[in-house]
Symmetry: C2
Subunit: 388 residues, 2 copies
């Protein structure tokens, strides 16, 4: 395996009723900005649980963080932090709220002239500090609760960009699987496939002799395949919800990606589909991935065969037949949990291809993926293959 550093100091409090631990987790003297999304936490009782647990704490609130959180919205929260000299961000929500909180935490202490540079110049000007963050997760999917990653959308320009920093790792994250009981089913479907593709990005690359990482990745995939449908069938199945939730967290906390190559091309292309057409993040991954698996079948041959054999029990046929069957089985899984996998399913046509390629070109991108050899032409080819 490759050399690596692994450092994940996020404290996880997992299980029924863990929200009650909040007063032991948030510093007593904190001036808190409580951030949340569109208000589902008002309906499912989580807002009340949080407020009850934090009675007597100094709390300001900022609601209305969108799915694919908007830079424009988050900057209003940053103003609030500065105005009231707040020093702690408590995020209650799903991946979008958590990602938004990370941007707010970094932007509040940003010393550069333009906070958009946190995203646009992430490598040239890495984040040096951020306010401390705690989270209460309400939707298993992105893994944001146990990593230092954040994705933010600039509404004005339809740009969706990411940044990552150890400074925005949450100090703690509370994961109570009961939050799953009242989720809209599409959120569960998106969460299942999002976690699934997070694993794939770190696993389906080229082999570097990493049996622990490979088997951990396969453990998460098998669990999502088993438990995801159980949750969809009965959202109040606590055990299934818990296993789904823990799988989604483990899918992107750095562990399975330590010491191995990573791809992330599916995510990069998918982000553009969200930016231009507002397609849900999980859905974009299910559109792009099958095309990428097929096109990069030579690069990824050994891992594709391993994935097919260990996950889908595909052992018969020529190499190409086995890979085709593996891709078909993966597509079938996505569809079985309620996610369509073609651009036409979302009313998107060929015109999007040139727009996406142009955007990568405008950023000076020559190639993406684990070897940096997925070219702009190949991005076009992948999208072409996913039209209908």
């Amino acid at each position: 395996m490759n050399n690596f550093e692994f450092h994940n100091p996020v404290k996880i409090c997992f299980g029924k009723g863990e929200i009650a631990k909040l007063p032991n987790l948030v510093p007593a003297k904190a001036s808190i900005l409580l951030v949340y999304g569109g208000g589902s936490i008002m309906k499912n009782g989580i807002y009340d649980q949080v407020k009850n647990a934090l009675k007597g704490f100094n709390i300001h609130e900022f609601g209305g963080i969108e799915v694919n959180p908007h830079y424009e919205t988050l900057m209003k929260a940053v103003e609030l932090v500065k105005e009231h000299r707040l020093d702690y961000i408590l995020a209650v929500g799903g991946g979008s709220v958590l990602d938004g909180a990370k941007f707010i935490a970094a932007a509040a202490l940003w010393e550069g002239s333009d906070p958009w540079d946190i995203l646009a110049k992430r490598y040239q000007m890495p984040v040096q500090k951020a306010l401390p963050i705690g989270t209460v997760l309400t939707l298993p999917a992105t893994g944001s609760e146990m990593n230092g990653n954040s994705v933010v959308t600039r509404w004005e320009t339809h740009e969706k960009l990411a940044f990552g920093s150890p400074h925005v790792l949450p100090q703690f994250s509370i994961l109570d699987p009961q939050v799953v009981f009242s989720l809209p089913p599409i959120h569960i479907s998106n969460g299942i496939v999002d976690a699934f593709v997070h694993v794939i990005e770190q696993y389906l690359t080229y082999p570097v002799d990493s049996p622990i990482q490979d088997r951990f990745a396969e453990s998460i995939l098998l669990t999502l395949i088993e438990e995801g449908p159980k949750v969809l069938k009965n959202q109040t199945n606590y055990e299934a919800a818990a296993n789904f939730m823990w799988a989604a967290t483990m899918a992107l906390n750095g562990l399975i990606g330590a010491g191995v190559p990573q791809d992330w091309a599916t995510h990069m292309i998918g982000h553009e589909l969200t930016a231009f057409h507002g397609i849900d993040h999980g859905q974009t991954l299910c559109i792009v991935l099958p095309g990428l698996m097929s096109l990069k079948r030579k690069n990824k041959e050994q891992k594709l065969l391993q994935f097919g054999e260990r996950i889908w029990k595909i052992t018969e046929g020529t190499t190409d037949e086995k890979i085709d069957a593996t891709i078909a089985r993966t597509v079938q899984f996505f569809e079985s949990v309620g996610i369509k996998t073609k651009l036409s399913d979302y009313g998107v046509g060929r015109e999007v291809i040139a727009k996406i390629v142009d955007r990568f070109a405008s950023r000076g991108v020559k190639g993406i993926g684990e070897r940096g050899d997925l070219t702009l032409d190949q991005i076009a080819e992948i999208l072409e293959s996913r039209l209908s």
Copy 2:
């Protein structure tokens, strides 16, 4: 699964040449106590690598920490820390040195009258603070590099006791698999079975619907079974050494034990065999475990069958036949990596049984294991079954 907290802030630096990162990991102004064992680090060049990396740092040294580190020895190191007002413990060694360093770090700041209480009264008087610790691991086995556990032996009374505290979690641990190249083969054998049984203690209990934890545990077991023999065959096989090393760390860093019942009876009984007869820790586990698996076959039935099927591919026969085959296969694995599994193999006879039972009785122990229902009579029965 059960509710749990998981918090492991140890920074892992893994790979070839990582020792060179030491000056970035140890605070520049630290007054360091460098602790090590019997001097193997002088022969294999690790001592020189560490000293070269830390040129200009303020370092005192304390060598000679034994296998199964002695309380009496460690207290001399504590005196040195106090005399020179040292404020950082750097442990370079295997599990014994690391465990010793944790005790030193806690004892140096202990405010109670008797530092032995850190071990003897671990639950009544938990450790409240400790000096910061960094480690350079030289022997994959115990997992001490990524947990807050420590086992210490009082030579005077032949007592081997453990304590655990988040305050003694290392700040960082450097894992360079090249350290395996020059290890005595028996250390590798012991390391393989030690890591194996660490997994078993957290996996072979009763089911609580925890597929992620189960499959991660099985991932580590399968990796040890595959990679362990490769390392024994060729110690300079870097990839095999790396996979063995990472497996041993993952076996006991809290992850696979989060949210599931844990046993640890094999360790508790094994510690007494070491305390009375000086049998290597790994060897004691291989003596005790087969007897415990057989005796507790009803309690552990479902997990024994899962272990047999997923690890050893045992699917034929009655339940008892499958369990017997699973135990036999496990014993065969221990023997195949060079560890004998009977008391007679170590020249120990029936007389040890009453001594061990008496010692548990003198501590007021009624039952141990995941349900606390492994009685003193059953401990005797297990040892009886392992005589020859």
